[in-house]
Amino acid sequence: MSSVTFVTHEGESHEVPLDDDRSLMQIAVDNGVPGIDGDCGGEAACGTCHIVVDPAWTDTVGMSTEVEEEMLAMNPERHPTSRLACQMTAAEKWDGLVVQVPEFQM
Protein backbone atom coordinates (compact mmCIF):
# COMPACT_ATOMS: atom_id res chain seq x y z
CA MET A 1 0.00 0.00 0.00
CA SER A 2 1.30 3.46 -0.79
CA SER A 3 2.01 5.83 2.05
CA VAL A 4 2.94 9.35 3.03
CA THR A 5 4.97 10.40 6.05
CA PHE A 6 4.30 13.44 8.18
CA VAL A 7 7.20 14.48 10.39
CA THR A 8 6.20 16.61 13.35
CA HIS A 9 8.21 19.43 14.88
CA GLU A 10 9.35 17.05 17.64
CA GLY A 11 10.74 14.74 14.96
CA GLU A 12 8.04 12.10 15.33
CA SER A 13 7.23 10.33 12.06
CA HIS A 14 3.67 9.39 11.16
CA GLU A 15 3.55 7.10 8.17
CA VAL A 16 -0.06 6.83 7.00
CA PRO A 17 -1.83 5.23 4.03
CA LEU A 18 -2.02 7.43 0.97
CA ASP A 19 -5.61 7.64 -0.11
CA ASP A 20 -5.81 8.72 -3.77
CA ASP A 21 -8.07 11.60 -4.59
CA ARG A 22 -8.32 12.83 -1.03
CA SER A 23 -6.62 15.99 0.07
CA LEU A 24 -3.43 15.63 2.05
CA MET A 25 -5.13 17.58 4.87
CA GLN A 26 -8.01 15.08 4.99
CA ILE A 27 -5.54 12.19 4.99
CA ALA A 28 -3.70 13.73 7.94
CA VAL A 29 -6.90 14.43 9.87
CA ASP A 30 -8.34 10.97 9.15
CA ASN A 31 -5.20 9.45 10.60
CA GLY A 32 -4.93 11.73 13.60
CA VAL A 33 -1.62 13.32 12.62
CA PRO A 34 -0.99 15.91 15.36
CA GLY A 35 -0.49 19.52 14.30
CA ILE A 36 -2.84 19.46 11.33
CA ASP A 37 -6.31 20.66 12.29
CA GLY A 38 -7.98 21.65 9.04
CA ASP A 39 -10.30 24.01 10.89
CA CYS A 40 -11.92 25.45 7.77
CA GLY A 41 -12.55 22.04 6.26
CA GLY A 42 -10.26 22.66 3.32
CA GLU A 43 -11.27 26.08 2.08
CA ALA A 44 -7.82 27.64 2.26
CA ALA A 45 -9.29 29.98 4.87
CA CYS A 46 -7.52 29.01 8.08
CA GLY A 47 -3.93 28.01 7.36
CA THR A 48 -4.01 25.23 9.99
CA CYS A 49 -2.92 22.63 7.42
CA HIS A 50 0.43 24.23 6.59
CA ILE A 51 3.12 21.67 5.73
CA VAL A 52 6.59 21.86 4.24
CA VAL A 53 7.32 19.49 1.38
CA ASP A 54 10.65 17.68 1.34
CA PRO A 55 12.53 19.52 -1.45
CA ALA A 56 13.20 16.22 -3.23
CA TRP A 57 9.45 15.95 -3.83
CA THR A 58 8.53 19.38 -5.14
CA ASP A 59 8.80 18.28 -8.78
CA THR A 60 6.23 15.58 -8.14
CA VAL A 61 3.75 17.42 -5.92
CA GLY A 62 4.27 20.95 -7.19
CA MET A 63 4.76 24.32 -5.54
CA SER A 64 2.13 26.44 -3.80
CA THR A 65 -0.69 27.83 -5.90
CA GLU A 66 -1.80 31.44 -5.94
CA VAL A 67 -4.58 30.79 -3.43
CA GLU A 68 -2.11 29.16 -1.04
CA GLU A 69 0.43 31.93 -1.56
CA GLU A 70 -2.12 34.47 -0.29
CA MET A 71 -2.37 32.55 2.99
CA LEU A 72 1.31 31.64 3.28
CA ALA A 73 3.00 34.89 2.29
CA MET A 74 2.67 36.50 5.73
CA ASN A 75 3.36 33.34 7.72
CA PRO A 76 6.61 33.52 9.72
CA GLU A 77 7.07 29.75 9.51
CA ARG A 78 6.90 29.86 5.76
CA HIS A 79 9.51 27.87 3.79
CA PRO A 80 10.19 27.92 0.05
CA THR A 81 8.40 24.57 -0.29
CA SER A 82 5.48 25.40 2.04
CA ARG A 83 2.01 24.27 0.98
CA LEU A 84 -1.51 24.12 2.35
CA ALA A 85 -2.24 20.42 2.59
CA CYS A 86 -5.94 20.96 1.88
CA GLN A 87 -5.09 22.23 -1.58
CA MET A 88 -3.10 19.10 -2.49
CA THR A 89 -5.00 16.15 -3.92
CA ALA A 90 -3.06 12.94 -3.36
CA ALA A 91 -2.01 10.88 -6.37
CA GLU A 92 -0.61 7.36 -6.68
CA LYS A 93 2.80 8.68 -7.70
CA TRP A 94 3.13 10.39 -4.30
CA ASP A 95 3.94 7.05 -2.68
CA GLY A 96 6.78 7.65 -0.23
CA LEU A 97 6.23 11.41 0.06
CA VAL A 98 7.67 13.08 3.17
CA VAL A 99 6.38 16.38 4.54
CA GLN A 100 7.18 18.35 7.71
CA VAL A 101 4.55 19.77 10.03
CA PRO A 102 5.69 23.18 11.37
CA GLU A 103 5.81 23.90 15.10
CA PHE A 104 3.03 26.49 15.04
CA GLN A 105 0.01 26.57 12.78
CA MET A 106 -1.80 29.83 12.14
Binding site: D39, C40, G47, A73, M74
Partner: protein, 404 residues
Protein backbone atom coordinates in the same frame (compact mmCIF):
# COMPACT_ATOMS: atom_id res chain seq x y z
CA UNK B 1 -11.72 -1.24 35.95
CA UNK B 2 -10.57 0.44 32.75
CA UNK B 3 -10.93 4.21 33.03
CA UNK B 4 -13.71 5.56 30.85
CA UNK B 5 -14.06 8.98 29.24
CA UNK B 6 -17.47 9.98 27.93
CA UNK B 7 -17.79 12.67 25.32
CA UNK B 8 -21.35 13.98 25.14
CA UNK B 9 -22.17 15.51 21.75
CA UNK B 10 -20.51 14.28 18.57
CA UNK B 11 -19.76 17.31 16.44
CA UNK B 12 -16.79 19.65 16.03
CA UNK B 13 -15.93 19.86 19.73
CA UNK B 14 -16.75 16.24 20.59
CA UNK B 15 -14.78 14.78 17.69
CA UNK B 16 -11.76 16.87 18.65
CA UNK B 17 -11.94 15.89 22.33
CA UNK B 18 -12.07 12.21 21.37
CA UNK B 19 -9.09 12.57 19.03
CA UNK B 20 -7.23 14.67 21.58
CA UNK B 21 -7.72 12.07 24.33
CA UNK B 22 -5.86 9.51 22.23
CA UNK B 23 -3.15 12.01 21.32
CA UNK B 24 -2.64 12.63 25.03
CA UNK B 25 -2.55 8.86 25.59
CA UNK B 26 -5.80 8.46 27.50
CA UNK B 27 -5.37 4.97 28.86
CA UNK B 28 -8.87 3.56 28.71
CA UNK B 29 -12.21 3.60 26.94
CA UNK B 30 -13.46 6.58 24.99
CA UNK B 31 -17.17 6.70 24.24
CA UNK B 32 -18.41 9.42 21.90
CA UNK B 33 -22.16 9.83 22.38
CA UNK B 34 -24.22 11.79 19.87
CA UNK B 35 -27.90 12.12 19.11
CA UNK B 36 -27.56 12.90 15.40
CA UNK B 37 -26.87 9.35 14.21
CA UNK B 38 -24.12 10.33 11.80
CA UNK B 39 -20.36 10.56 11.85
CA UNK B 40 -19.35 13.94 13.26
CA UNK B 41 -19.68 16.31 10.31
CA UNK B 42 -18.79 19.86 9.45
CA UNK B 43 -21.52 22.40 10.01
CA UNK B 44 -20.11 25.43 8.14
CA UNK B 45 -20.76 23.99 4.64
CA UNK B 46 -24.44 23.50 5.51
CA UNK B 47 -25.21 27.08 4.53
CA UNK B 48 -22.40 27.27 1.96
CA UNK B 49 -21.04 24.74 -0.55
CA UNK B 50 -23.21 21.86 0.65
CA UNK B 51 -26.46 23.79 0.36
CA UNK B 52 -25.41 25.18 -3.01
CA UNK B 53 -24.85 21.62 -4.22
CA UNK B 54 -21.08 22.03 -4.65
CA UNK B 55 -20.12 19.41 -2.08
CA UNK B 56 -20.92 15.72 -1.72
CA UNK B 57 -22.40 14.41 1.51
CA UNK B 58 -19.36 12.12 2.10
CA UNK B 59 -17.11 15.17 2.14
CA UNK B 60 -19.02 16.54 5.13
CA UNK B 61 -17.58 14.05 7.63
CA UNK B 62 -14.85 15.62 9.75
CA UNK B 63 -12.98 12.30 9.80
CA UNK B 64 -13.72 9.02 8.07
CA UNK B 65 -15.32 6.11 9.98
CA UNK B 66 -11.95 4.32 9.96
CA UNK B 67 -10.47 6.95 12.21
CA UNK B 68 -12.75 6.10 15.12
CA UNK B 69 -12.18 2.38 14.68
CA UNK B 70 -8.41 2.72 14.51
CA UNK B 71 -8.27 5.04 17.50
CA UNK B 72 -10.58 2.74 19.44
CA UNK B 73 -13.17 5.42 19.96
CA UNK B 74 -16.59 3.86 20.49
CA UNK B 75 -19.40 5.79 18.87
CA UNK B 76 -22.77 5.46 20.49
CA UNK B 77 -26.02 6.88 19.14
CA UNK B 78 -28.35 8.40 21.65
CA UNK B 79 -29.07 11.37 23.85
CA UNK B 80 -27.67 11.68 27.34
CA UNK B 81 -30.57 12.60 29.60
CA UNK B 82 -28.92 13.12 32.92
CA UNK B 83 -25.68 12.99 34.84
CA UNK B 84 -25.60 11.44 38.27
CA UNK B 85 -22.44 12.98 39.66
CA UNK B 86 -22.58 11.19 42.99
CA UNK B 87 -22.65 7.77 41.30
CA UNK B 88 -20.44 8.90 38.37
CA UNK B 89 -22.96 7.66 35.86
CA UNK B 90 -24.92 9.09 32.98
CA UNK B 91 -28.31 7.94 31.83
CA UNK B 92 -29.26 7.78 28.16
CA UNK B 93 -32.68 8.27 26.63
CA UNK B 94 -32.98 4.50 26.07
CA UNK B 95 -32.50 3.91 29.78
CA UNK B 96 -28.91 2.65 29.57
CA UNK B 97 -26.56 3.82 32.30
CA UNK B 98 -22.85 4.33 31.70
CA UNK B 99 -20.30 4.91 34.41
CA UNK B 100 -17.58 7.46 33.81
CA UNK B 101 -14.27 8.69 35.12
CA UNK B 102 -14.28 11.89 33.04
CA UNK B 103 -16.89 13.67 30.93
CA UNK B 104 -16.53 16.27 28.22
CA UNK B 105 -19.73 18.21 27.61
CA UNK B 106 -19.82 19.11 23.92
CA UNK B 107 -23.55 19.57 23.52
CA UNK B 108 -23.35 22.63 21.27
CA UNK B 109 -26.26 24.86 20.50
CA UNK B 110 -29.71 24.80 18.94
CA UNK B 111 -31.52 27.42 16.85
CA UNK B 112 -33.25 30.18 18.73
CA UNK B 113 -36.97 29.89 17.98
CA UNK B 114 -38.88 32.85 16.67
CA UNK B 115 -42.05 31.49 18.33
CA UNK B 116 -44.30 33.23 15.83
CA UNK B 117 -47.76 31.88 15.01
CA UNK B 118 -47.67 29.60 11.97
CA UNK B 119 -44.09 28.52 12.58
CA UNK B 120 -45.14 24.86 12.45
CA UNK B 121 -46.49 25.13 8.91
CA UNK B 122 -44.79 22.98 6.30
CA UNK B 123 -42.06 24.82 4.51
CA UNK B 124 -40.78 26.73 7.55
CA UNK B 125 -37.25 25.63 8.38
CA UNK B 126 -34.41 26.22 10.76
CA UNK B 127 -30.85 25.45 9.66
CA UNK B 128 -28.55 23.71 12.09
CA UNK B 129 -28.20 20.05 11.10
CA UNK B 130 -27.59 18.07 7.93
CA UNK B 131 -31.17 16.79 8.25
CA UNK B 132 -32.38 20.40 8.15
CA UNK B 133 -30.43 20.98 4.95
CA UNK B 134 -31.76 17.83 3.29
CA UNK B 135 -35.29 19.13 3.85
CA UNK B 136 -34.37 22.59 2.59
CA UNK B 137 -32.77 21.14 -0.52
CA UNK B 138 -35.97 19.26 -1.32
CA UNK B 139 -37.99 22.46 -0.93
CA UNK B 140 -35.49 24.37 -3.07
CA UNK B 141 -35.73 21.87 -5.91
CA UNK B 142 -39.06 23.23 -7.07
CA UNK B 143 -37.62 26.72 -7.27
CA UNK B 144 -39.74 29.73 -6.40
CA UNK B 145 -39.20 32.27 -3.70
CA UNK B 146 -37.34 31.75 -0.44
CA UNK B 147 -37.79 34.15 2.45
CA UNK B 148 -34.99 34.19 4.97
CA UNK B 149 -35.67 35.55 8.41
CA UNK B 150 -32.52 36.98 9.98
CA UNK B 151 -29.59 38.79 8.39
CA UNK B 152 -26.70 37.23 10.29
CA UNK B 153 -23.90 35.22 8.68
CA UNK B 154 -25.94 32.04 8.41
CA UNK B 155 -28.91 33.91 6.89
CA UNK B 156 -26.79 35.76 4.36
CA UNK B 157 -24.79 32.68 3.38
CA UNK B 158 -28.03 30.79 2.91
CA UNK B 159 -29.33 33.62 0.72
CA UNK B 160 -26.21 33.46 -1.46
CA UNK B 161 -26.39 29.67 -1.80
CA UNK B 162 -30.08 29.66 -2.73
CA UNK B 163 -29.45 32.43 -5.22
CA UNK B 164 -26.83 30.23 -6.78
CA UNK B 165 -29.48 27.54 -7.14
CA UNK B 166 -31.55 30.04 -9.10
CA UNK B 167 -34.16 30.90 -6.49
CA UNK B 168 -35.66 34.27 -5.81
CA UNK B 169 -34.52 35.31 -2.32
CA UNK B 170 -35.67 37.92 0.16
CA UNK B 171 -33.94 38.49 3.50
CA UNK B 172 -35.91 40.04 6.35
CA UNK B 173 -33.92 41.64 9.14
CA UNK B 174 -35.62 43.15 12.17
CA UNK B 175 -32.76 45.51 13.03
CA UNK B 176 -31.72 48.56 11.04
CA UNK B 177 -28.87 46.74 9.29
CA UNK B 178 -27.71 43.20 8.57
CA UNK B 179 -24.82 41.77 10.65
CA UNK B 180 -25.56 44.57 13.08
CA UNK B 181 -24.26 42.79 16.14
CA UNK B 182 -21.00 41.64 14.63
CA UNK B 183 -19.61 44.20 12.18
CA UNK B 184 -19.17 47.90 11.53
CA UNK B 185 -21.83 49.77 9.52
CA UNK B 186 -19.44 49.92 6.53
CA UNK B 187 -19.28 46.14 6.37
CA UNK B 188 -23.06 45.79 6.71
CA UNK B 189 -23.51 48.29 3.88
CA UNK B 190 -21.03 46.36 1.77
CA UNK B 191 -22.94 43.07 2.14
CA UNK B 192 -26.23 44.81 1.48
CA UNK B 193 -24.82 46.23 -1.75
CA UNK B 194 -23.36 42.92 -2.95
CA UNK B 195 -26.57 41.02 -2.21
CA UNK B 196 -28.53 43.64 -4.17
CA UNK B 197 -26.08 43.27 -7.07
CA UNK B 198 -26.62 39.52 -6.94
CA UNK B 199 -30.37 39.94 -7.00
CA UNK B 200 -31.22 39.36 -3.33
CA UNK B 201 -33.60 41.81 -1.75
CA UNK B 202 -32.67 42.69 1.83
CA UNK B 203 -35.32 44.42 3.91
CA UNK B 204 -34.25 45.87 7.23
CA UNK B 205 -36.54 47.02 10.01
CA UNK B 206 -38.74 44.09 9.00
CA UNK B 207 -40.07 42.31 12.08
CA UNK B 208 -41.84 39.03 11.35
CA UNK B 209 -45.06 38.58 13.25
CA UNK B 210 -46.53 35.39 11.79
CA UNK B 211 -46.56 32.87 8.98
CA UNK B 212 -49.74 32.23 7.05
CA UNK B 213 -50.85 29.41 4.82
CA UNK B 214 -53.05 26.40 4.61
CA UNK B 215 -50.92 23.50 5.90
CA UNK B 216 -48.00 24.90 3.91
CA UNK B 217 -46.54 28.34 4.38
CA UNK B 218 -47.61 30.86 1.74
CA UNK B 219 -46.99 34.22 3.31
CA UNK B 220 -44.84 35.93 5.88
CA UNK B 221 -46.72 38.56 7.85
CA UNK B 222 -44.75 41.55 9.07
CA UNK B 223 -45.50 43.77 12.06
CA UNK B 224 -47.63 46.47 10.50
CA UNK B 225 -49.55 43.93 8.48
CA UNK B 226 -47.60 43.72 5.24
CA UNK B 227 -47.66 40.21 3.71
CA UNK B 228 -44.81 38.76 1.71
CA UNK B 229 -45.37 35.74 -0.52
CA UNK B 230 -43.10 32.77 0.20
CA UNK B 231 -42.66 29.25 -1.19
CA UNK B 232 -40.58 28.39 1.82
CA UNK B 233 -38.98 30.13 4.78
CA UNK B 234 -35.69 29.66 6.60
CA UNK B 235 -35.31 31.19 10.04
CA UNK B 236 -31.79 32.04 11.18
CA UNK B 237 -31.92 34.29 14.21
CA UNK B 238 -29.12 32.88 16.31
CA UNK B 239 -28.63 29.94 18.64
CA UNK B 240 -29.03 29.02 22.29
CA UNK B 241 -26.51 26.85 24.13
CA UNK B 242 -27.57 23.32 25.14
CA UNK B 243 -26.95 23.58 28.85
CA UNK B 244 -29.89 21.70 30.41
CA UNK B 245 -27.80 18.64 31.12
CA UNK B 246 -25.26 20.68 33.05
CA UNK B 247 -27.83 22.82 34.84
CA UNK B 248 -29.79 19.80 36.04
CA UNK B 249 -26.60 18.17 37.27
CA UNK B 250 -25.80 21.28 39.32
CA UNK B 251 -22.81 22.40 37.25
CA UNK B 252 -22.31 26.15 37.08
CA UNK B 253 -23.93 27.65 33.99
CA UNK B 254 -24.06 31.30 33.03
CA UNK B 255 -25.28 31.63 29.44
CA UNK B 256 -23.02 28.64 28.67
CA UNK B 257 -21.36 26.01 30.84
CA UNK B 258 -18.73 28.06 32.63
CA UNK B 259 -15.15 26.93 31.91
CA UNK B 260 -11.70 28.20 32.82
CA UNK B 261 -8.54 28.37 30.67
CA UNK B 262 -8.20 24.61 30.82
CA UNK B 263 -11.83 23.89 29.90
CA UNK B 264 -12.65 22.81 33.46
CA UNK B 265 -16.21 23.22 34.70
CA UNK B 266 -17.18 23.56 38.34
CA UNK B 267 -16.89 19.75 38.61
CA UNK B 268 -13.27 18.53 38.48
CA UNK B 269 -14.28 15.39 36.56
CA UNK B 270 -16.17 17.34 33.90
CA UNK B 271 -14.89 19.58 31.12
CA UNK B 272 -16.85 21.45 28.46
CA UNK B 273 -16.01 22.79 25.01
CA UNK B 274 -17.60 24.43 21.99
CA UNK B 275 -20.82 26.33 21.49
CA UNK B 276 -22.21 25.18 24.86
CA UNK B 277 -19.30 26.63 26.83
CA UNK B 278 -18.73 30.07 28.21
CA UNK B 279 -15.07 30.85 28.74
CA UNK B 280 -13.48 33.45 30.98
CA UNK B 281 -11.12 35.02 28.47
CA UNK B 282 -8.16 36.80 30.00
CA UNK B 283 -7.56 38.60 26.71
CA UNK B 284 -10.96 40.29 26.95
CA UNK B 285 -11.39 40.41 30.71
CA UNK B 286 -14.83 38.84 30.55
CA UNK B 287 -16.72 35.64 29.94
CA UNK B 288 -17.56 34.95 26.31
CA UNK B 289 -19.47 32.16 24.62
CA UNK B 290 -18.00 31.82 21.14
CA UNK B 291 -19.81 30.05 18.34
CA UNK B 292 -17.13 28.95 15.91
CA UNK B 293 -15.31 25.87 14.71
CA UNK B 294 -11.81 27.14 15.57
CA UNK B 295 -12.89 27.98 19.11
CA UNK B 296 -14.61 24.61 19.53
CA UNK B 297 -11.35 22.96 18.44
CA UNK B 298 -9.17 25.06 20.71
CA UNK B 299 -11.36 24.43 23.76
CA UNK B 300 -11.63 20.74 22.90
CA UNK B 301 -7.84 20.38 22.87
CA UNK B 302 -7.65 21.97 26.30
CA UNK B 303 -10.43 19.69 27.56
CA UNK B 304 -8.69 16.55 26.28
CA UNK B 305 -5.43 17.57 27.95
CA UNK B 306 -7.19 18.31 31.23
CA UNK B 307 -8.94 14.92 31.17
CA UNK B 308 -5.54 13.26 30.80
CA UNK B 309 -4.06 15.26 33.68
CA UNK B 310 -2.07 17.52 31.37
CA UNK B 311 -2.11 21.25 30.82
CA UNK B 312 -3.00 22.99 27.59
CA UNK B 313 -4.54 26.43 27.91
CA UNK B 314 -7.15 27.97 25.66
CA UNK B 315 -5.14 30.80 24.22
CA UNK B 316 -5.59 31.16 20.47
CA UNK B 317 -7.03 34.39 19.12
CA UNK B 318 -10.68 33.89 18.10
CA UNK B 319 -11.30 33.98 14.39
CA UNK B 320 -14.10 33.19 11.97
CA UNK B 321 -14.87 32.99 8.29
CA UNK B 322 -17.87 33.30 6.02
CA UNK B 323 -18.35 32.58 2.29
CA UNK B 324 -20.92 34.37 0.16
CA UNK B 325 -20.77 34.43 -3.63
CA UNK B 326 -17.16 35.17 -4.58
CA UNK B 327 -16.51 36.79 -1.20
CA UNK B 328 -14.26 35.10 1.29
CA UNK B 329 -14.53 36.90 4.61
CA UNK B 330 -11.96 36.12 7.28
CA UNK B 331 -12.30 37.75 10.68
CA UNK B 332 -9.43 37.98 13.13
CA UNK B 333 -10.17 38.80 16.77
CA UNK B 334 -13.32 40.19 18.36
CA UNK B 335 -14.23 43.82 17.69
CA UNK B 336 -16.18 44.36 20.91
CA UNK B 337 -15.44 47.80 22.36
CA UNK B 338 -13.71 49.30 19.32
CA UNK B 339 -13.45 53.09 19.22
CA UNK B 340 -11.94 53.57 15.79
CA UNK B 341 -12.14 52.05 12.34
CA UNK B 342 -9.60 52.09 9.55
CA UNK B 343 -10.76 50.88 6.16
CA UNK B 344 -8.32 49.77 3.51
CA UNK B 345 -9.87 49.62 0.06
CA UNK B 346 -13.26 50.87 -1.10
CA UNK B 347 -16.19 48.84 0.25
CA UNK B 348 -18.66 50.97 -1.68
CA UNK B 349 -17.26 49.86 -5.04
CA UNK B 350 -14.89 46.90 -4.77
CA UNK B 351 -15.20 43.32 -3.61
CA UNK B 352 -11.95 43.25 -1.67
CA UNK B 353 -11.20 45.40 1.37
CA UNK B 354 -10.31 45.20 5.04
CA UNK B 355 -12.02 46.87 7.95
CA UNK B 356 -9.66 47.20 10.93
CA UNK B 357 -11.02 47.75 14.43
CA UNK B 358 -8.90 49.60 16.97
CA UNK B 359 -9.26 50.39 20.63
CA UNK B 360 -7.10 53.07 22.16
CA UNK B 361 -4.88 52.89 19.12
CA UNK B 362 -4.38 49.15 19.41
CA UNK B 363 -5.55 46.75 16.68
CA UNK B 364 -8.16 44.38 18.18
CA UNK B 365 -9.94 42.89 15.17
CA UNK B 366 -10.17 42.90 11.38
CA UNK B 367 -12.81 41.90 8.85
CA UNK B 368 -10.88 40.91 5.72
CA UNK B 369 -12.90 40.44 2.55
CA UNK B 370 -10.93 38.69 -0.19
CA UNK B 371 -7.77 39.84 1.59
CA UNK B 372 -6.09 36.75 3.08
CA UNK B 373 -2.80 38.57 3.55
CA UNK B 374 -4.46 41.20 5.68
CA UNK B 375 -6.07 38.42 7.68
CA UNK B 376 -2.80 36.68 8.45
CA UNK B 377 -1.15 40.01 9.19
CA UNK B 378 -3.99 40.96 11.55
CA UNK B 379 -4.00 37.64 13.33
CA UNK B 380 -0.31 37.95 14.04
CA UNK B 381 -0.40 41.60 14.98
CA UNK B 382 -3.34 41.20 17.35
CA UNK B 383 -1.93 38.04 18.96
CA UNK B 384 1.42 39.67 19.62
CA UNK B 385 -0.07 43.01 20.72
CA UNK B 386 2.35 44.83 18.42
CA UNK B 387 1.81 48.53 17.75
CA UNK B 388 0.30 49.41 14.40
CA UNK B 389 0.75 52.39 12.16
CA UNK B 390 -2.66 53.63 11.05
CA UNK B 391 -1.37 55.03 7.78
CA UNK B 392 0.15 51.67 6.99
CA UNK B 393 -3.13 49.90 7.70
CA UNK B 394 -4.88 52.09 5.20
CA UNK B 395 -2.48 51.28 2.41
CA UNK B 396 -4.03 48.40 0.56
CA UNK B 397 -2.84 44.83 1.05
CA UNK B 398 0.49 46.36 1.79
CA UNK B 399 2.45 44.17 4.16
CA UNK B 400 4.40 42.75 1.24
CA UNK B 401 5.27 46.21 0.02
CA UNK B 402 3.11 46.53 -3.06
CA UNK B 403 -0.14 48.47 -3.16
CA UNK B 404 -2.77 46.99 -5.35
Amino acid sequence: MTPRALVVGASHAGAQVAAGLRQHKWDGDIVLIGDEAALPYQRPPLSKAYLAGDMAVDALAIRGADFYAKQEITRRDGAVESIDRAAQQVELADGARLRYDRIALCTGARPRRLNAPGEDLEGVFYLRTSADVEAIRVAARTGGRAVIVGGGYVGLETAASLRKLGLEVIVLEAAERVLGRVTAPQVSAFYTRVHAEEGVEIRTGAAVEAFAGDRRVQEVVLAGGERIAADFVIIGIGVLPNTDLATTAGIVVDDGVVIDDRARTSDPLITAAGDCASHDMARYGRRIRLESVPSAGEQAKAAAATMCGKTKEIAALPWFWSDQYDLKLQIAGLNHGYDEIVVSGDPTRDRAFTCYYLREGQLIAADCINRPRDFIFSKQTISSGKEVDRAELERTDSRVGSSR
